[in-house]
Symmetry: C2
Subunit: 203 residues, 2 copies
């Protein structure tokens, strides 16, 4: 015997009612405001892109936003042009020195990471920033270019929202974060099909 359309619709309604009750309960219990530490990590695409999207959401509301790029080249012309539209609200610092496999000079990478961190600290301590994005900071931490304990301690007393991106987020950072999303690579055209990075999509 197959179910009638009526049965399907009734069951759907019952399930939907339960789900709504659960959702309403969650929302009613969520009454705290907090300056969030958000981490986008994992090997999949979309980490910096999600950070960029959150920045633009904040900018849409007229909030001040800062970015420090710990690895040069991670963001490209598309982002920069879109951000330029809000240039009075955006501070954009490109502090890193290219991908580490391009520079091949550890001592210099460490010095550059430290320079970037000084810029990041200044933003984090300036409460006029609604949101500070520390792009690819995880890579810097992963190579021990900056001590993770120092970074976590500095992030603890913030009065703004912070997003950290990059694969291999270290455990102490995950532990102190409020929101962590792992972008998992399921399929990637660059790796599997030899498709090049294309304007207006990847840069």
């Amino acid at each position: 015997m197959t179910d009638s359309e009526e049965d399907i619709n009734r069951r759907h309604k019952e399930k939907a009612e339960k789900r709504k009750a659960f959702q309403d309960k969650l929302v009613s219990q969520a009454d705290k405001k907090k300056h969030l530490l958000m981490v986008y990590t994992g090997t999949g695409k979309g980490k910096s892109t999600a950070a960029f999207g959150t920045m633009l959401r904040a900018l849409g509301h007229g909030h001040k936003v800062g970015v420090v790029q710990f690895i040069k080249g991670a963001w490209s012309t598309g982002e920069q042009k879109a951000l330029a539209t809000f240039d009075n609200l955006v501070t954009y610092e490109v502090a890193g020195e290219g991908f580490t496999w391009d520079t091949q000079d550890r001592a210099r990478d460490i010095a550059k990471a430290r320079e970037a961190w000084v810029l990041a600290l200044a933003m984090i301590r300036d409460t006029s920033y609604h949101l500070v994005v520390l792009d690819e900071l995880n890579i810097v931490l992963r190579y021990d270019y900056l001590p993770v304990e120092e970074v976590v301690a500095a992030l603890a007393g913030r009065a703004n929202h912070v997003i950290v991106t990059g694969r291999n987020a270290p455990q102490p950072l995950i532990d102190s974060a409020d929101l962590v999303t792992e972008m998992k690579l399921v399929k990637h055209p660059f790796r599997e099909q030899g498709v090049m990075a294309q304007e207006g999509i990847e840069f």
Copy 2:
């Protein structure tokens, strides 16, 4: 015996050289241009935000972009205000009728999904669009409001980039996609700490 700073730097340089050679090879092999079908799925945060970020990257380059929101309320004022900056390049259609657990009327949800799909099809067939975002389409497919075969067939012959977002992407869509990222929920402040959605971050 501990390693000298010199040893550490030398080993780092060797590893970095290998990594660079591998990366260069990948890039040199990636010479194809293709209109990509990109899927952001999973239960974690950042799916629609990454789509939104990609849109703004395309807009930064002056490309035309379309969005169909299959679930009303998924995008909010922050996005809309940011997009308004590029309003001559953006077509934004809010076609869905609220979250399904709010409406509790399956027949009406199906009709609304169909209306949204008609709008989406018109965009996909219009080659002046560089990128079309089908936001929360996965949810519609998951509830069988639209047959996945019909959607996959329609997407096959495109001449633009498409992003589909939403949890529970169906397997036939994943199979036909070029890039799939699963956003995995690791930590969420809303669920765990009772933190409310905050302006300029989540809406």
